[in-house]
Symmetry: C2
Subunit: 202 residues, 2 copies
């Protein structure tokens, strides 16, 4: 059919096409995992030939890193850390509704890179650690400001919070029918109740 447009138009050139490749990559990775997709698939989704894709990214692995970098950059510009944990929680939940297509990228890649030799293992481990540290820091802050009770291990709680988020992400990806509002509301309530400073004596 496309006989009069041999080269599918150059209007989507350069950075534009690059972005579309990155988007397609992210979308496909969530659904099929990194090992479950091929350059041909990504290329098709982005409207380019496999070789055309490799014109922008030197290799499949480099594309993966680029996609993750793009994702990190997006996160950094659209969400900043800090703020009350409860507040962060509802922000996270909103994300499931607002940008559902970018939920799960890290969760999927994590399970594909458990082995210490895996290409993303270290990157993901560091990120997980920093996430936990961040939440733990927020809890510690709340404790020192007297908003949270002090007999709670900030690290343990932080791991729990991250585990909940990670798990709910996984479960929702497998079955989007689960009611996120209910679950988030329930967990947030639990969190508030647990962290609240007990009213009086001992």
């Amino acid at each position: 059919m496309s006989k009069q447009r041999p080269y599918a138009t150059l209007l989507a050139k350069g950075e534009d096409r690059k972005q579309r490749i990155l988007d397609a990559t992210q979308r496909l990775v969530v659904r099929h995992g990194w090992r479950g997709i091929t350059l041909a698939q990504i290329a098709r989704e982005a409207g380019v030939s496999p070789a055309g894709l490799l014109h922008h990214f030197a290799s499949k692995e480099q594309l993966l890193h680029a996609a993750l970098d793009a994702r990190d950059a997006y996160d950094e510009t659209h969400f900043q850390a800090g703020g009350d944990i409860v507040e962060q929680m509802s922000l996270l939940e909103a994300r499931f509704r607002e940008v559902p297509e970018q939920i799960g990228t890290y969760a999927v890649l994590l399970m594909e890179n458990l082995d210490a030799q895996a290409p993303l293992h270290e990157r993901l481990r560091v990120k997980q650690h920093s996430n936990v540290d961040q939440v733990a820091g927020e809890i510690r802050r709340g404790q020192s400001e007297g908003r949270y009770r002090t007999d709670i291990d900030p690290t343990a709680k932080a791991v729990e919070v991250m585990a909940f988020l990670h798990g709910v992400e996984a479960m929702w990806l497998l079955d989007p029918a689960i009611s996120l509002p209910d679950v988030f509301l329930e967990y947030t309530a639990t969190l508030i109740q647990r962290l609240a400073v007990p009213p009086a004596g001992s």
Copy 2:
């Protein structure tokens, strides 16, 4: 026992090797994912040639199903459902220490089968649903017996519990340095506090 079976000892040898293949499969799947391993790898680990492996299992995919079936059977004989949630929780935690090598099989496969067309998608979705139902049922039971407060949505809580377990599994697989006892203790305490019937008036 069944000594009059036609080719008893020969078949026993087969079953033996079959089991070793199943074990190797499970071990490798956790580390590298299903798509990350080859028949050759599994075969080597089990001490056979790739062709020898296919003598016992018709295809790579059938091997996967067999490995999952074996896992399910193991679970069913070694752990029974029911019992207090808190109690179940410590049982689960013990498992991380006692049989660490079989932690993560489902978690890894889940992320590789998110797509509705994926071979294990339905199987995993059903299992997740039944897990949630089971926990929810246990909560409901506690509520009707007056042990748990009744203003909590059993399903939401059940999803939360499963999410926590799933998430902590993933995080531990990526970084076994996290302190499971602390995290489980903290979450269990939270759970108790949340489910406990409030002492008196409104």
